[in-house]
Symmetry: C2
Subunit: 290 residues, 2 copies
């Protein structure tokens, strides 16, 4: 599974490199900051999901890679802005200084804005799909997943939930928005590239996987090895973030992770042999150590 993820990551990084502005010109520092944050690794789970679900429908790889890169631009912009002093105030990300520490706060804000904008430019380009209706469908759903009723609402709830004891249902809502929305989009994007409006099974898979991903993130914050995760341990506790581990305890959180793992795998029932990479990803996320 590590190999599959690594291969998807390499291909996505190459596409990102091609789509990002070159490091030159009057606004070179801006482009350097965009490249710093978008090309510095990360697991590229979302690109893997786009590429793998697109392959289920025999979508040409170049099209899928452009969508994968667009989703990753949105993901990277959200990390840059979430790390800012006014938000989570994080100095380290993926084992390196966060964008505002490496550059300046102003540059980090603008690099995030530019990545967000570039994601939509990448999708609107005819190279993403010859049918403009498909491109608009992708833009509509990505904007919904990433916007004020999706990921950004999740970040608001996350900040509002600090120093509070949220009920499990509220934490689930928060996770569905903050992490889940973009993961769900990544899972149905392949179907959209094949001309479908969505795909119920992949939507369910993405929902369970997104919740599982955030739950294991909460577990790693408590139990993870900081040399592997690339970020200091106990950050959530320090910021008194709403966390499934706090709400349920470690043992029950692990049981809930198993439930979500099984749900995600069950959703794939109709895909026959082609589902095996998506299945492997579920196990990888359940037992991830970084």
């Amino acid at each position: 599974m590590e190999d599959l993820l690594q291969s998807a990551a390499t291909r996505t990084t190459a596409m990102l490199d091609a789509l990002l502005p070159p490091s030159s010109g009057g606004a070179k520092t801006l482009y350097d900051a965009m490249r710093y944050s978008a090309l510095n690794g990360g697991k590229r789970i979302r690109p893997f999901l786009v590429l793998t679900t697109a392959a289920l429908f025999d979508v040409p790889e170049t099209q899928a890679l452009r969508v994968a890169a667009a989703v990753e631009m949105i993901h990277c912009y959200s990390l840059i802005h979430d790390d800012l002093p006014a938000m989570d105030n994080s100095d380290v990300r993926r084992g390196a200084p966060t964008c505002h520490k490496q550059f300046t706060e102003a540059t980090a804000i603008l690099a995030g804005d530019a990545l967000l904008t570039l994601a939509f430019a990448a999708l609107a380009d005819p190279a993403t799909h010859p049918d403009a209706t498909v491109r608009c469908t992708l833009i509509t759903h990505l904007a919904k997943a990433a916007g004020g009723a999706g990921m950004i609402a999740g970040q608001m709830l996350d900040m509002a939930g600090e120093k509070q004891t949220l009920p499990v249902a509220d934490i689930t809502t928060l996770h569905r928005l903050k992490t889940g929305a973009l993961i769900r989009f990544s899972c149905v994007a392949g179907a959209m590239l094949a001309g479908k409006a969505t795909d119920d099974a992949l939507e369910k898979y993405g929902d369970a996987l997104g919740l599982l991903f955030q739950l294991t993130d909460d577990l790693l914050d408590v139990e993870g090895d900081t040399t592997l995760t690339g970020k200091p341990q106990g950050q959530d506790a320090l910021a008194e973030k709403a966390s499934m581990v706090n709400a349920l305890g470690i043992s029950a959180a692990k049981k809930q992770a198993d439930v979500l793992r099984d749900k995600a795998i069950a959703a794939l029932g109709g895909f026959g042999d082609r589902k095996k990479h998506l299945e492997s990803l579920v196990h990888f996320v359940r037992y991830r150590i970084k």
Copy 2:
């Protein structure tokens, strides 16, 4: 002219009100901040340009209003982010507290992000134009105008130019990016809604008007009445911003404004009687007092 601008502003504000999320739900504060910054007035010059150029091509008003609202969302997001402490650190905008003063810095960053995202969602919706190719053309050009090679590059150059004496050519480049790109887009959006790739005359008009707008902005910063402009006088000088008035002196800056006024009007030559509102806007911008 004031009446025409007011009428366009009222119709655009109604469309923004319909497109923005209602003030309710778990992320209510986010939506309140978006509405606070997008609905609190402003001259709505860009929406006026979209509506007026769309009328040249007999584009249905509802379509033009959606594009006008999208452009204004981008403009408002850029003001929110530019006003942040890490950038221009402005407390007052349009005579009222800036978004981060009224809410928090984190909320202001996210409200800007959400407005930027919503602009693309608004354009991608079939209600904007029945032909998805037209919608994608609008998205491509708006993303280019607003992104890392357009407006955002302009803000980077603006910050880099502080405490420096920039040559007139560099200030012109800065203005073309920071203010000009979005104004040029607003001028050609009407042609795009009529199915054209662009319109050279309107592009030239928008270029001259954009430079004129920024030049009169620089003049107002020196000579304007703060009760009319809604922002403190001398902010540019205080921040040692690159300014055409500093580079040329007040008298030469005013002569340059006349040159740009004449250029903008000359570009409209081919439009016959229908150009009169666009002409009036040039005079309004040249002699504006706020």
